[in-house]
């Protein structure tokens, strides 16, 4: 008999980086790299598991902004151009390294990797990656989760109910379009929760959500099952806690698997060693040294020092060992746990999907190993949170504490260190939009003012994304984030002002519709 359950949850999200106004745009590479390094390898893993008859069930979230980009014709075309360029870069590297026995095989490997990605994107996915994930949901191996429309960090909006409502309503509507079904669960951006949010989730028909460990541990009443039993809010919406031990094993700088010496080193990118002039030719839009995605070294030593060449076979073997280790430790975790409730425990392990393949190159192989080993053991059952609730519906009643999985466990990442750049303006704009929605929601959909009001909502929702404060706070891409946020707000301001003046310029409106091209079915009434 199984000791309990484990739930693997993947959340796929990227900020909206589509820029049709430029022939090439550097940050669009974030999407192309995620497709090639994460989403396509995950598809390859899921296909292999299905072909081998391995039973599995994962919960999976695709953020609406990511779906908008994955479904976009222009970005699909640009992805193919990007991948073709990567193949060309790898071929140049093959020529450059033809006398280097250490690195030449790796360059060949990268060329084959990108050739495989191009082939999978065209033939397996027919360029529509999101549709493939829907096929898995239809096959019953993925349980879809709904999210917020533009990945807004909801605790910052708790004082503005229309924004929370609209983010969740549009997120749920988009999830229905993508998955063809009403998701039972919600992925809260950054696991950001505040008491009261469960009511908005219930109003969208969502039955459960995931919070950071201390969200449950510091709930309104002490949780008898700790992080290993969901709790139910008084309105019946359940909260599952992220298991800290799983997180530690994958994310920790000291103990985490991805920092193993034999794994590929993410930071040692060949782009830093290539002449800037050549790099500019290879990577349009790159200013100065930039990563190109070809990485020839292994981590070697977490503390620094000279790097050794990457050896893929050794890394693959280590990923298999780590998968074994992960499952063994989860079983041990449940064996030493004191039974506290009459329901079996569940270990909840949510991850950013982009961890697998991009940050952690061997991640997809590790994930596949974990799933195969879980299928082979009778001690632990792989199930989604929704499956668990179906089987074990009697839960302790308590409301999780305000929390997130960001640094410090609360909101600092999205509020300090410059992260609140323009946020008061965004909040003021939300008030303006609520008034606009009230005034223009009943107009015929194709009337110019109705189009402008809906587009104002789209631009503002894009400005509300958690990504811009995050990119500023972490210093990952602060100038890009500031400009993007400012541009979305500027478009909103133009439309709001023009609507009030009764002077919407159709040419400008059309341009904004092309620039901020999300949520074509947006219903303005969600803002009222």
């Amino acid at each position: 008999m199984a000791l309990g359950y484990i739930s693997l949850i993947l959340h796929a999200h990227l900020p909206y980086v589509r820029h049709p106004e430029h022939p090439q745009f550097f940050e669009e590479r974030w999407l192309f790299e995620a497709i090639n390094e994460c989403y396509l390898p995950l598809i390859e893993v899921f296909d292999r598991l299905l072909n081998d008859g391995v039973p599995f069930r994962l919960a999976f979230s695709l953020s609406p902004t990511l779906v908008a980009m994955l479904e976009d014709d222009l970005l699909q075309r640009r992805h193919m151009e990007h991948t073709a360029r990567m193949i060309e870069i790898a071929e140049r590297e093959i020529r450059r390294l033809h006398n280097d026995a250490r690195f030449h095989p790796l360059a060949v490997g990268y060329r084959d990797f990108y050739r495989g990605a191009a082939r999978a994107f065209e033939t397996r996915c027919r360029r529509r990656v999101a549709r493939v994930f829907r096929e898995y949901a239809e096959a019953g191996v993925l349980e879809p989760l709904a999210g917020a429309a533009t990945h807004a960090y909801l605790p910052l909006w708790k004082a503005h109910a229309p924004t929370v409502r609209a983010q969740l309503a549009v997120g749920a509507a988009e999830a229905r379009l993508v998955w063809g079904a009403v998701p039972r669960g919600a992925w809260l951006p950054e696991c950001g929760f505040y008491p009261g949010l469960e009511c908005e989730l219930a109003a969208r028909g969502l039955r459960y959500f995931i919070v950071e460990s201390h969200g449950v541990l510091r709930a309104s009443s002490r949780p008898r099952g700790g992080v290993h039993a969901p709790i139910a809010c008084p309105n019946g919406v359940a909260a599952f806690a992220r298991d800290p031990e799983c997180s530690q094993q994958v994310w920790s700088a000291e103990e985490g698997y991805p920092g193993d010496p034999v794994y590929r080193d993410f930071h040692a990118d060949a782009g830093h060693e290539i002449e800037p002039a050549l790099l500019a030719e290879w990577l349009p839009g790159a200013i100065g040294p930039a990563p190109i995605g070809l990485r020839y070294y292994r981590v070697t030593d977490r503390r620094g020092g000279p790097k050794q060449p990457y050896r893929p076979a050794e890394a693959a073997a280590r990923a298999a060992e780590h998968a074994e280790d992960f499952v063994r430790k989860r079983i041990a975790q449940l064996e030493r746990r004191v039974p506290a409730l009459e329901i079996p425990p569940i270990i909840v392990a949510p991850f950013d999907a982009e961890l697998f393949g991009h940050w952690w190159f061997e991640g997809p192989r590790w994930l596949e190993g974990v799933i195969r080993r879980l299928a082979d053991t009778s001690s632990l059952e792989l199930a989604t949170p929704g499956d668990y609730l179906e089987r074990h519906p009697r839960l302790q009643c308590a409301v999780p504490a305000e929390s997130s999985w960001g640094r410090g466990g609360a909101h600092a990442v999205w509020m300090e260190g410059g992260a609140d750049y323009l946020q008061p303006r965004v909040r003021a704009a939300a008030e303006t939009l609520t008034a606009l929605a009230r005034d223009f929601r009943d107009l015929p959909l194709h009337a110019l003012p109705a189009r402008a009001a809906r587009q104002a909502a789209r631009s503002l929702m894009l400005a509300q994304a958690s990504d811009w404060p995050f990119l500023i706070h972490t210093g990952a891409a602060p100038e890009f984030a500031k400009k993007t946020l400012r541009d979305h707000l500027a478009r909103f301001h133009y439309l709001a002002t023009a609507l009030r003046a009764g002077a919407v310029d159709e040419r400008r409106l059309r341009a904004i519709e092309l620039l901020d091209a999300v949520f074509p079915e947006l219903d303005l009434s969600v803002w009222t």
Binding site: P223, W251, L389, C397, G409, A476, A490
Partner: protein, 196 residues
């Protein structure tokens, strides 16, 4: 290009909006962050309403602790616009914060509405009651499930040993140092993360 023209709309729109701004938010269980902006004309008008005076009434934030009976205390603000983080010893507390000019009689002449903010709890709840909710009695696919306006409890006696199931010490959780999106492996100096 239209996209460039539209970018210019931001300055035009925001230039016309010189209003008093005042926000307070919880960063974590122990810290609040306040941000304020009192435009010069609003500030001058408020000073005049207090009868002018030399020196003029200072700008201040007044913090009222909720629940612990502590007297309110004031923080003088050095500029008409700024932001500041305030640290507290107690997590999971509620504060009411006023923003305005400190009058000679000790009251605050408000420049904006006061704000009440609660910091997240820093420790497990003192409540240890056990109430069981049976979700199986309602289906999420039943529209009535989401329409229920009030809590609907189903109580069961606690199972034997439930009260000692988990020691308070094991409820203490230190969040990991990382934020979302990226492992916290140190990047080499000068390297730029290519995506969030």
């Amino acid at each position: 290009m239209i996209s460039d023209q539209l970018a210019g709309e931001f300055d035009a729109a925001t230039a016309a909006e010189e209003t008093v701004e005042f926000e307070v938010g919880a960063l974590d269980p122990y810290r609040l962050r306040a941000r304020w902006n009192a435009p010069a004309d609003r500030l001058a008008a408020a000073q005049a309403a207090l009868g002018g005076g030399t020196p003029p009434a200072p700008l201040a934030l007044r913090f009222h602790h909720g629940g612990n009976g502590a007297p309110p205390y004031d923080v003088f603000l050095p500029a008409a616009a700024g932001e500041r983080t305030f640290a507290f010893r107690r997590g999971g507390a509620t504060y009411r914060v006023e923003f305005g000019l400190l009058r000679p009689d000790g009251a605050i002449h408000p420049l904006a509405g006061d704000i009440t903010v609660a910091t997240p709890p820093a420790a497990p709840s003192p409540r240890d009651d056990l109430l069981i909710l049976d979700l199986g009695r309602r289906s999420v696919f039943d529209a009535a499930f989401v329409a229920v306006p009030k809590p609907c409890f189903v109580e069961y006696p606690a199972p034997p040993g439930a009260g000692v199931g988990i020691a308070p010490a094991s409820l203490v959780c230190v969040p990991l140092a990382h934020g979302s999106g990226a492992p916290d492996f140190a990047a080499p100096p000068g390297s730029v993360a290519p995506w969030p």
